[in-house]
Symmetry: C2
Subunit: 121 residues, 2 copies
DNA sequence: TATTGACTTAGACTAGACTCTAAGTGATAA
DNA sequence: TTATCACTTAGAGTCTAGTCTAAGTCAATA
């Protein structure tokens, strides 16, 4: 699969895909006889996982660490699990924070709708 | 209330408070006779609201726009409401995205725990 | 009185995550 | 066969949201 096709599939830019490869999140991606990237199935699966995790707010740095541990092999299994568990905690905390903010936002919108605004902001 | 006290109360830095004032999110904060900031109750309420919304991922730019509309007065009420409704939609979408990612993360951790990992990454 | 410490300002710097530019290569269409 | 187009690289530039620095002021303590 070409870089363009991958970019379209995952709705990201070619630049972002090359950037992910440069920092070592993906690949190195195989090149065809003309030197152009040809993404494999497993490249695609990595990209999907990374995109999903990154869109949830997990940093490139943390994802890179995970990928590096993965590439080191079996011996890092437990460390990888712990890394994921930490990210799970952070993610749950973030969702809580956002849900709280959402509630406040909804309350404020309610004030607007019922014309009961007399507050600061 | 001094800048230090406010920073402690909301767990942010003096620098961030000055930055918020510089971009017009808060204040202008009153100064005492020695030229030092003395935050009022309504400054504190703004800061609390802004901190909460920003921690949920609403950008400084959007918050600034809201504050500016607020300061323009009554006539912008409907526009402000619409702005908040848009942010509500975005926030709900973000929470959905993050919840999806969280589910995938939990599933992956389960694979680690039951030693069923045979996948990519 | 001298120094310490918390504040003030303007403005430079930083990190993270891209995003763009310039210069070049290879395959295909006119 | 020349032009066009999608790709390649290295490296520079951008944006957001701070964060830090330098130089200075003021009040309180040694």
């Amino acid at each position: 699969m070409t870089i363009k096709e991958v970019a379209e599939k995952f709705d990201m830019t070619n630049d972002t895909l090359r950037y992910y490869e440069k920092v070592g999140l993906v690949g190195p991606v195989k090149k065809n006889s003309s030197g152009m990237r040809d993404y494999s199935e497993s490249d695609l699966k990595r990209i999907e996982f990374i995109k999903c995790m990154h869109s949830a707010g997990i940093s490139i740095e943390v994802l890179k660490k995970y990928v590096d541990l993965y590439d080191e092999g079996e011996s890092t299994k437990l460390e990888r699990q712990h890394l994921l568990e930490e990210e799970q905690d952070k993610l749950e905390e973030k969702i809580r924070t956002m849900t709280e903010a959402l509630d406040k936002l909804k309350y404020k919108i309610e004030l607007y709708k019922t014309n009961k605004l007399d507050e600061y902001l």
